[in-house]
């Protein structure tokens, strides 16, 4: 990167109207009925509606079913190491703040092997959209217990039922410092999913969205019945929250007003056992952003950088006093 500024990296933008096709690539190889399809479409719709230039958009992922995501986006992408979606994304954002970032991670990728990066990713609060595809199972490796699998679930690692209580990703994230945006949605409500991702993309900072996702292949029973039962869904609304059109909201039987700046209330909803809260749980527009700190030298020219480097290295120059 040395020797170029991000202005020089900028590609002149043709004056075009991007359509859905511009963000699509390849044929998704998720199982039929997988929630991934609907999330992919929603992200593509958000990109289209925000008119993100594909060449200025990056999808970063770790490992897992969810993490095949970058392959299906007609944008730049990085299919990273297991659990390392956050560090890669932070690196990209740090040096290229002009790019639009979508981080795609799964329950295993984020909450298990990548848990350490998760903590700091949230704390850095760099502007990006983080989508946690939480289907409560390891699907890519064919049905093993994941950290968010409910207790007692039958899987190949625990054929007689899993023995530990699961992690609650919302409650956990709400416990990290400098958290700025936590929302939850489901893959089967297309309108809410779109509205949530749209709201997350508009947020100034790291927007953490947990998407409750169905896995029709391995744990159909986990959310299969929930999806069909409107009483199991709690819609959280507020003027700064995620708001649906009246037509889409009519499908919800339980609608509550929730002030997303109230972290105690947010934690109460996050730990709710009765139904899935959907909407913006917590929102802090004043959280500090590490990417702004990192970008302070972004405007330097090549000469300036060379000079700064030389000044730095000059400190270590050994002068020959005898000469």
């Amino acid at each position: 990167m040395i020797g170029s500024t991000h202005e020089l990296c900028s590609i002149p933008m043709p004056d075009v109207d991007y359509s859905m096709d511009d963000y699509a690539k390849g044929t998704p190889r998720w199982c039929p009925g997988c929630g991934g399809h609907s999330i992919l479409t929603s992200v593509q719709r958000v990109c289209k509606d925000m008119q993100y230039p594909p060449e200025k958009t990056v999808a970063v992922s770790g490992i897992g079913c969810s993490s095949r995501f970058p392959h299906y986006m007609g944008t730049y992408g990085f299919h990273g190491l297991h659990g390392r979606a956050f560090p890669v994304a932070c690196g990209i954002k740090f040096r290229r703040p002009d790019l639009h970032l979508f981080v795609v991670t799964g329950d295993g990728d984020c909450c298990s092997i990548g848990a350490g990066h998760w903590v700091h990713g949230i704390r850095y609060n760099m502007k990006m959209v983080v989508l946690l595809f939480d289907n409560g199972i390891y699907g890519l490796t064919k049905k093993q217990t994941s950290p968010t699998s409910p207790m007692g679930i039958l899987s190949n690692t625990h054929p007689k039922g899993s023995v530990l209580p699961p992690i609650n990703p919302l409650l956990t994230t709400l416990g990290f410092s400098n958290v700025s945006f936590v929302a939850q949605t489901t893959d089967w409500n297309a309108a809410h999913l779109y509205a949530t991702i749209r709201r997350a993309a508009e947020h100034d900072g790291l927007a953490f969205v947990r998407i409750v996702q169905r896995c029709p292949a391995f744990v159909k029973e986990l959310y299969g019945n929930v999806a069909a039962d409107p009483d199991k869904m709690i819609l959280l609304t507020h003027e700064v929250g995620i708001n649906l059109k009246p037509n889409a909201a009519k499908n919800f039987t339980r609608i509550f007003e929730h002030d997303p700046t109230n972290i105690q209330e947010a934690r109460r909803y996050a730990s709710s056992e009765d139904g899935i809260p959907m909407g913006l749980l917590y929102y802090n527009p004043n959280a500090l952003r590490y990417d702004l700190y990192g970008a302070h030298n972004m405007g330097m020219s090549n000469n300036e950088k060379e000079e700064a480097l030389n000044t730095l290295l000059d400190q270590y120059t050994i002068r020959n006093n005898h000469a």
């Binding site: 039929p32 893959d187 297309a190």
Partner: protein, 834 residues
């Protein structure tokens, strides 16, 4: 009877504002007339024109406008999406995929504009496939779009979308095909590609079997000279004897030599077949002459082609038997491999099974995997050894025959002295065997042809496609298309499809509905005609003669009857062919044509044409009868029954009339009697007549209020018809109640949508419905599903998709015909989602 009621218009003929003129007959002297008759008879028998016949160019009346440059309604060029391999009209393809309109009317206007774009007409250097670089096409198309009157920003978006369409064409996402002699084979090739795709599962299964057998044999052989060569490096490090107890054991360690031998043989077979099948699942045998003349090798690149210098059926039979034996061997090997892999081989059960393995042991779905063997030759050649061909058909040999009939063969048929028309009836020969899939038609309806190829390719029965194609190297594609279409529509070469998998009885298997006005002998069209009395609407029939007229270069050797001559001696060919012989004894058939000035003329048909025409029409009647569209027996029986019924009803009516008269008489007598009594009473002053009349009226009212009065002995003068009337009224009331109940049910039903619809906002884009029913569902701009054609798929499948939809946003509505068998269950299932 129906024939009289229905009138039809020939394609867009009514929009053309074309009306030929009928001349008033000229007077001719008796002597002239007699001389002409004599000459005409001679012409009829020998084909020698009379000196009176003018030398003019004429055209069949129904086709004249098209021959003079009016564009002929057709679907060409067609486009084929290379992903789905569905062929459709290119305007709809472009409209559905690239250019969207919210307003229906705008949409239709634009479609009309788009379809007026004619580029090829076969003139694109005989290159009927447009999938590579065709900048000329692109330029013309953009130019054409720009002439559409629309706001500037709209035109700009059109241009952008046309660019996208063109780049997709270039990238091979779709193929555009124009009409030519080679079109059917392009369509076949596209279907071959699709079929190849569906056979991939089988090749995968084959590979799995091969790998499994290799595994078992490999392990076993390793044990034979253990430790195997893979472990050579470890020999000095590990003591294999000591780990024998913990090493994984498989079935193969204990396999007896006999089974191993079987597996080794299976491996050889599997190896060989895998090589063959992975190269190509289709084998096409083509006559070498034909292949070179048509450039078949460059067209049919999705199959393996074998050229034959001659195509004797005996050789094809031998080739087939060889293929079949290989296939049976392969299936046995696969079954054995799968049993051993799953460790389910049972000595007692499976040893005799494999010893007697034959074709009957193969499941129907496996039988479909038989490597397609397609024989491509002219129909004439195929029937040279008809005995062998028939044997193959009756044995159910899974050979697919493509019989090619060339246009010139059909047209010269009538002029040959001894015409052998059997090959035109290749299709019916195959139908006689009742087990084959048969299609007869041409590329003028490309969608239908492509469907026929697709059905035939997946069938595990003999298949015969008898198709009509223009001669290769012919110059005018438009004229060829017209000729081919006319051959079919004029019943010269009727379209038909025989498929034992559709319907339950024989009539249902054979489908002749692809022909226009298929219930009638000949299709009828209406045309305005100018006569001396003004414009009149005339009906013309399309006959096989029209096809011969069009194809044989009109006006050459045929007699055009001069005006005023022999009018009473001539009869229209359609009447000549379809009416009983008595009606036209001594008359000669003629067909209507028009000359350059659009004046109607009569062309007299010579005997040699008449024979051929009659043959073809007989064949059509035969097909109609076999296809169950028309049944002479049934018609006769119906006519007899109707007559019987008519006479019975007539006598009943006379009886009723008599009864009525009698009743009327008696009532009248009664009334007269009562009048006399009243008058007498009034005169005698015994009672006030007015009061009497009033009372009488009250009594009547009372009686009408009572709903259930059945009085013969009533006080109202005992008129029997009244109680009849009342009973009738009661009956009506009951009917009314029933009607009301039905109306209520109907209104309940009306709340349920009649057609399938999708709440697009709720769609999660899971692809389920789009993949299961691409004919019904499509994605919109936001990649959310909507219904583009509610009739695009079977109702059962729509209900299944609605049940599967993760967002539950598909509402299946009601089926077309809720009373069809099995529908009530489906409606019940659909109820939840409506």
């Amino acid at each position: 009877m129906d024939e009289k009621k229905d009138t039809y218009t020939y394609r867009n003929l009514d929009k053309l504002d074309y009306s030929p003129a009928l001349e008033a007959p000229e007077e001719r002297s008796r002597e002239e007339e007699r001389a002409y008759h004599k000459a005409l008879r001679k012409y009829f028998l020998t084909g020698q024109k009379t000196p009176q016949s003018p030398d003019e160019t004429v055209a069949p009346v129904l086709l004249a406008p098209y021959l003079r440059g009016v564009s002929f309604d057709n679907t060409f060029p067609v486009i084929c999406d290379t992903q789905s391999n569905v062929i459709e009209d290119w305007t709809s393809y472009v409209m559905n995929k690239y250019i969207f309109f919210s307003d229906d009317q705008d949409r239709e206007t634009f479609r009309a504009h788009l379809s007026s774009f004619v580029v090829f007409g076969g003139s694109l250097d005989n290159n009927e496939r447009i999938d590579k670089d065709a900048p000329e096409f692109h330029r013309l198309l953009v130019e054409h779009i720009m002439t559409f009157e629309a706001p500037v920003e709209m035109t700009a978006s059109f241009k952008k979308n046309v660019d996208r369409f063109y780049s997709d064409l270039k990238a091979g996402k779709a193929v555009m095909i124009d009409f030519s002699a080679r079109t059917p084979f392009h369509i076949l090739n596209l279907q071959l590609a699709k079929d190849k795709e569906t056979r991939k599962g089988f090749i995968k299964r084959l590979r799995k079997c091969l790998a499994g057998v290799n595994d078992i044999l490999g392990l076993h052989d390793k044990q034979d000279n253990a430790p195997g060569k893979h472990y050579d490096f470890a020999k000095s490090l590990i003591s294999f004897d000591s780990i024998e107890g913990v090493a994984p054991r498989t079935m193969s360690t204990n396999l007896p030599e006999e089974r191993l031998e079987g597996l080794r043989k299976a491996k050889v077979v599997l190896d060989k077949s895998y090589n063959i099948y992975s190269q190509s699942s289709h084998l096409i045998l083509i006559h070498a002459d034909m292949a070179s003349k048509w450039g078949m090798e460059s067209i049919l690149d999705n199959a393996k082609i074998e050229l034959l210098s001659d195509c004797p059926m005996t050789m094809i039979r031998a080739r087939y038997q060889e293929e079949l034996e290989n296939f049976i061997e392969l299936m046995a090997a696969m079954k054995r491999a799968e049993l051993e892999m799953d460790q389910k081989y049972d000595e007692h059960l499976h040893k005799p099974y494999f010893e007697h393995f034959n074709i009957n042991y193969i499941a129907p779905e496996d039988l479909r995997q038989f490597r397609s063997m397609i024989v491509l030759d002219e129909s004439q050649h195929m029937l040279r050894e008809s005995q062998v061909l028939l044997n193959l058909l009756s044995d159910g040999a899974m050979i697919k025959f493509i019989g090619v009939n060339l246009l010139h063969q059909l047209t010269t048929l009538a002029d040959r002295s001894s015409s052998d028309e059997t090959y035109l009836e290749l299709a019916s020969l195959a139908i006689f065997r009742r087990n084959a899939y048969v299609f007869q038609g041409a590329a003028d309806t490309p969608v239908q042809l492509s469907r026929a190829f697709a059905t035939g390719l997946t069938a595990s029965t003999p298949v015969v496609w008898n198709i009509l194609v223009p001669d290769p190297g012919s110059q005018s594609a438009t004229l060829d298309l017209m000729k081919v279409n006319l051959a079919i529509e004029s019943r010269y070469f009727p379209r038909l499809e025989y498929n034992i998998e559709t319907g339950e009885d024989f009539g249902m298997h054979l489908d002749v509905t692809g022909n226009p006005q298929h219930k009638f002998s000949l299709p009828t069209f209406k045309q305005e005609t100018k006569t001396s009395a003004g414009e009149e609407s005339h009906q013309y029939k399309l006959t096989p003669v029209d096809f011969l007229l069009l194809s044989n270069g009109i006006g050459g050797s045929l007699e055009i009857a001069p005006n005023g001559f022999a009018d009473d001696q001539l009869i229209e060919i359609s009447k000549y062919l379809t009416s009983p012989e008595d009606n036209h004894t001594g008359k000669l058939p003629f067909a209507w044509v028009v000359d350059d000035a659009d004046t109607l003329k009569k062309v007299v048909i010579p005997l040699r044409w008449l024979q051929s025409t009659r043959n073809r029409l007989d064949y059509w009647h035969f097909i109609q009868e076999v296809g169950g569209v028309k049944s002479a027996h049934l018609q006769r029986t119906l006519a007899a029954k109707k007559e019987e019924w008519d006479t019975a009803k007539e006598s009943e009516i006379t009886q009723l009339k008599e009864d009525l008269n009698q009743a009327f008489e008696s009532t009248r007598q009664d009334d007269i009697y009562r009048a006399i009594v009243n008058i007498l009473n009034a005169m005698l002053g015994s009672e006030d007549p007015l009061a009497l009349i009033q009372r009488e009226a009250d009594r009547k009212d009372e009686a009408e209020v009572e709903a259930e009065v059945e009085v013969e002995s009533a006080d109202n003068g005992g008129i029997p018809t009244r109680s009849h009337l009342r009973r009738g009224a009661k009956g009506e009331a009951e009917v009314e109640v029933e009607v009301e109940v039905e109306a209520e049910v109907e209104s309940l039903r009306a709340e349920v949508p009649s057609e399938v619809w999708v709440e697009s906002d709720e769609c999660t884009s899971c692809n389920d419905c789009i993949e299961a029913l691409p004919g019904v569902f499509k994605y919109n701009d936001d990649k959310q599903a909507y219904v583009h054609n509610p009739k695009g798929g079977p109702y059962a499948k729509i209900v299944a998709v609605a049940e599967k939809c993760p967002a539950m946003c598909i509402h299946p509505g009601l089926p077309d015909d809720p009373k069809a068998p099995g529908m009530d269950k489906l409606i019940q299932r659909a109820e939840k989602f409506n």
